[in-house]
């Protein structure tokens, strides 16, 4: 059984993981971005607190047992500097979000194109697809905002009424269950837009820049195989957060209070855990899109490719472990135009293929 058949095993979970493993450098770049962000916030913080603490005996209240009031007073003494630090940290997160869009687009591009995940390529792809992803984000913000926001409002209303009757554990479980319900809906939207992002890349590889082409087709794909995709997606997310919580637990129970390097390693493992899960989820989204029913393409003219020009089977993997859409042709496999020209009078269907929404019906 060749690898192509293995990929056709309807297990996007494992496929996503294999994509992640095959492109480990993506994880490296994403993690480095996270570390850079962390350092961008942490080093100014250190430069502010170091002069206060490094020669002070009172700092021992923070080095050993972490005295909460000492930390509170330290932030008071930082005064405006502390406010600046908080503001800067918040602004950095906003900048990071922009960078996260670049990385997301780059990740999907690498998964979809099979290119080697060099940083330059990832960033270039990120820049190329930035506005398409940004438009998707706006769509997502509007659609998910309306529905999740509406659900949140309903939840608030329900809890307000529940609060008049229930207290303690009962109310907590009500609040928790309703929160989980809203979160599950939010996860649905996240998955949908992950699929849409993956499809946007696939369309982009076909030269189609229209974002709207990815929105509803990806929803249809999700509808086709909702249960397995959604549960796999949730499972990956849960694994990531479980890893973070495990590291947090280890930090608290096993790392000595003064062992800063060890604490740093454990903390970073936790961060790595959620980053890994996120990239894995993107791999899953790419696989789901790739394994979806082939999208019929309306050719303007009949074209029968010569034997040397055979289109790969759906979901076939190339040597770099990439997946391709069933109707996709890698640039390396495209023969020179002169070879591809058939009989005189036969039109060649050139990419991008125009695709109608109705054509996406499967």
């Amino acid at each position: 059984m060749n690898r192509l058949l293995a990929y056709r095993s309807d297990l996007p979970l494992s496929t996503g993981l294999r994509l992640l493993i095959a492109n480990k450098r993506l994880l490296l770049w994403t993690y480095l971005a996270s570390v850079l962000l962390g350092l961008r916030a942490a080093l100014p913080f250190h430069s502010r607190v170091s002069p206060i603490l490094d020669h002070s005996l009172a700092a021992q209240d923070l080095a050993g047992r972490f005295d909460v009031s000492s930390y509170a007073l330290l932030t008071m003494h930082l005064g405006r500097q502390g406010t600046t630090l908080y503001t800067q940290a918040f602004a950095d997160i906003v900048v990071y979000c922009v960078f996260a869009i670049l990385l997301a687009a780059g990740t999907y591009f690498v998964f979809g194109s099979g290119e080697v995940p060099r940083l330059g390529l990832v960033l270039r792809a990120g820049v190329d697809y930035f506005w398409r992803f940004f438009r998707l984000l706006l769509f997502a913000g509007i659609i998910a905002g309306m529905i999740v926001g509406g659900l949140t409002a309903v939840r608030t209303l329900v809890l307000k009424h529940a609060d008049e009757v229930y207290v303690g554990r009962t109310y907590f479980y009500l609040a928790l269950i309703s929160l989980v319900a809203v979160a599950l809906v939010a996860f649905f939207f996240r998955l949908w837009f992950d699929l849409a992002e993956a499809m946007t890349i696939q369309l982009g590889l076909d030269g189609d820049r229209r974002v709207r082409r990815s929105l509803f087709p990806s929803l249809r794909i999700l509808k086709q195989r909702f249960a397995s995709t959604y549960l796999s997606y949730l499972l990956i997310g849960a694994l990531g957060w479980a890893g973070l919580l495990l590291c947090g637990w280890l930090w608290v129970v096993a790392v000595p209070a003064r062992a800063v390097p060890l604490a740093w390693i454990v903390g970073q493992l936790g961060v790595l855990s959620i980053l890994t899960a996120r990239i894995w989820q993107r791999g899953l989204a790419t696989a789901v899109v790739a394994f979806a029913e082939p999208v019929p393409v309306v050719h303007r003219a009949i074209f029968t490719p010569p034997p040397a020009f055979q289109t790969p089977e759906a979901g076939e993997e190339n040597s770099s472990g990439i997946l391709r859409m069933p109707n996709e042709i890698s640039s390396s496999e495209v023969p020179p135009l002169s070879e591809a020209i058939g009989e005189p009078g036969t039109a060649i269907d050139s990419a991008p293929h125009p695709i109608d929404d109705t054509d996406l019906q499967t």
């Binding site: 603490l53 020669h55 700092a59 330290l74 979000c97």
Partner: protein, 661 residues
């Protein structure tokens, strides 16, 4: 008569003896009951000068959250002068948007939250429909609202009545009032939440004639209460399904046969009466043996918090023991602990012989900051407010502040000196440090002695009244010694319980017990002033005495060590400086702090290791502990540890936010 003689002749002598014995016991019991029902007072004597006697009969409508009641008030004129005006507090009228309380809460925040709007369910009020007095007739038309503090005539939290003729000194007047309460939805200690009702400040309460005039302030966002001691005979009619806890002790219960019951309570030597009712209370009782007699700990715990009931009582019992040992006995026969509905503003409030605490169902034992601290604090108020009944409007530091100081001490004794607020594996905090941090959040807007509603803001009120007072008294304790401070508080309690002392009385007691004549400057700066205390080691280094010679190796000697201390704040306080050297020796210097700075120079065959101001960590008023010391060898553990936290949380926050994009 003959028949009676025959009857006695027929009785067996043993039965007769039993009958006579029971009669004696009953007589003795009744004799005691008449003199001391609610206290363990020796020989049943009154513990206070009982100025007032309230008799209240109230019907509680638990559906509408209203009360319809009648009040009989006997006021004994012990002022030594005729009285022709009587002011009454109508506290519930504060819960209207027109009140000074509402405006102040909107403007500067209240101690239980700021108001940005005024929803109609938070409107409450009290309406006195009739007022008369024996010998004076109907005085309903003579009632008028006043606003002695700010002139807001729409406030309606104080009304007064002019008598047609003055009440003579030594005479007693009996008022009859009929009133209607409408409780608000959980505002500032009061109202209802779900089907829980807190009856606090629910009846017209006469002011205190104090220092030659009536003292009857309006209800403000940051003020509490002040009243005369007396007796309270209260009957509350509630639905049968409700359990009620109240001040005093229960003395009777009657089923009315219409789905309601009437509960009878009696309190004496107290100055307020509060009650709480809920259909969800579980009763958890214990007994504490105080040095004046047994005290019933009457816990009314919400069913949702049943698993926390014993923790409440353990905290209460522990606090009672410490107060009994350190300051004096709790003289009442009962203390009622109410566990109010969560998410309400009725948590953490004190009334005579009744306290409300507050918790969440998940409250871990490693966070005494919630359940235990609140229970201790409110019990402490039985002493500093309940018995030593200071004027909470004008000198809030005497109840909240002293109570915060004793809270820190009791919590440290019960839950650990460093862990009495937070006791997690990697994070700790003591109650005292919490108080200090509270003080330093707003350290210099107001003096401790400012009248409560005149503070710059609610935040400043909290910081100074609670945090600064506790910090000032702890620093004072370091100066005079812990046993002396404890003795001073005991004397203060013994001398002023069931009275209305002032701040001067308190400070004079400390002066007297400590025998110190030099504390006045400290009181002036710390209590009456807003000066900041901050000492810093600003210069600390060693260099060779022959500094001009080239260095040969690292151990040249001798060394000249210079240490300079800077008094950065205006608060002058004597301090100790400890200087440690590389040969293990250390020296201590005592500086009166009068000048702005001082420099010490040492010539030794050892280099400086560290210099520290206040090496025993006694001056908690010092604003900044980090600059109190200088260690020559850099130790970056703390800064890198915090940096690691900062980085980790930044990364996690970024991941969380970027999930949405």
């Amino acid at each position: 008569m003959l028949q009676v003689r025959r009857l006695f002749a027929a009785l067996h002598p043993a039965v007769l003896c039993l009958f006579l014995g029971l009669l004696c016991i009953s007589t003795v019991w009744h004799a005691n009951a008449q003199t001391a029902v609610a206290t363990n007072a020796p020989a049943g004597q009154p513990l206070s000068q009982r100025v007032v006697a309230y008799t209240l009969e109230a019907k509680v409508n638990t559906d509408k959250k209203t009360v319809d009641a009648t009040e009989i008030l006997d006021y004994k004129n012990l002022t030594g002068q005729p009285l022709d005006t009587f002011p009454f507090h109508l506290y519930l009228n504060a819960f209207r948007p027109q009140s000074s309380f509402a405006y102040e809460t909107h403007l500067g925040g209240g101690i239980r939250g700021a108001a940005h709007d005024y929803p109609k369910e938070e409107i409450g009020g009290i309406t006195v429909s009739q007022l008369s007095a024996d010998g004076y007739g109907d005085l309903t038309q003579a009632m008028q609202f006043t606003a002695p503090d700010d002139g807001n005539m729409a406030d309606h939290t104080v009304m007064q009545v002019h008598l047609p003729k003055p009440l003579a000194p030594g005479a007693t007047i009996r008022f009859h009032l009929t009133f209607h309460d409408k409780f608000p939805l959980s505002v500032a200690r009061n109202g209802y939440k779900r089907d829980f009702i807190m009856g606090g400040q629910w009846f017209p309460k006469v002011g205190v004639f104090w220092h030659g005039t009536w003292n009857c302030h309006q209800y403000h966002a940051t003020t509490e209460f002040f009243a005369d001691f007396g007796t309270f005979d209260v009957k509350l009619t509630v639905p049968n399904r409700y359990t009620v806890g109240a001040s005093g002790v229960p003395v009777g219960e009657q089923n009315n046969g219409n789905g309601t019951k009437t509960l009878h309570f009696y309190g004496e030597d107290i100055h307020d009466f509060a009650w709480a009712a809920s259909p969800h209370f579980l009763v958890m009782d214990e007994t504490f043996q105080s040095s004046m007699g047994p005290v019933k700990l009457h816990g009314l715990i919400l069913q949702a918090h049943a698993h926390l009931g014993r923790r409440y009582l353990r905290a209460l019992k522990g606090s009672m023991q410490k107060f009994n040992d350190w300051y004096g006995a709790y003289p009442y026969k009962q203390i009622t602990l109410i566990d109010p509905e969560p998410d309400s503003q009725m948590y953490g409030m004190e009334y005579p012989t009744l306290i409300t605490a507050g918790t969440s169902w998940w409250a871990p034992e490693s966070l005494p900051l919630g359940l235990e601290t609140t229970t201790e604090h409110e019990f402490g108020h039985q002493y500093w407010y309940g018995m030593v009944a200071t004027n909470e409007f004008e000198e809030a530091w005497l109840d909240e502040g002293i109570n915060s100081y004793t809270e820190a001490k009791v919590m440290a004794a019960l839950y650990g000196k460093a862990t009495s607020a937070i006791d997690l594996r990697h994070a700790t905090m003591s109650d005292l440090e919490l108080q200090r941090a509270g003080y330093l959040s707003d350290p210099d807007y107001d003096p401790m002695t400012r009248w409560a509603w005149k503070f710059y803001s609610a935040s400043s009120y909290g910081a100074i009244t609670y945090g600064k007072t506790a910090t000032v008294l702890t620093t004072l304790e370091a100066a005079v010694g812990e046993p002396t401070m404890q003795k001073a508080l005991r004397v203060y309690f013994d001398r002023y319980r069931f009275k209305h002392p002032t701040g001067t009385d308190f400070l004079n007691t400390i002066n007297e017990v400590s025998g110190r004549k030099d504390l006045q400057p400290y009181f002036q700066a710390a209590v009456y002033g807003t000066k900041i205390l901050d000492y810093a080691v600003v210069d600390a280094a060693s260099e060779p005495v022959e500094w001009w010679k080239p260095q040969h190796g690292s151990s040249r000697g001798p060394w000249r060590t210079v240490v300079a201390v800077h008094r950065k704040g205006d608060f002058v306080f004597p301090v100790t400086l400890e200087v440690r050297f590389s040969d293990g020796s250390k020296t201590r210097e005592h500086w009166n702090g009068a000048d702005r700075w001082i420099r010490y120079t040492y010539v030794k065959n050892a280099k400086l290791v560290a210099a520290e101001v206040d090496p025993d960590h006694q001056i908690l008023l010092d604003k900044n502990f980090f600059n109190n010391s200088y260690v020559v060898a850099r130790n970056g553990t703390a800064s890198w540890k915090l940096t690691n936290y900062w980085m980790f949380f930044e990364q996690c926050a970024a991941q969380f936010v970027s999930w949405f994009v």
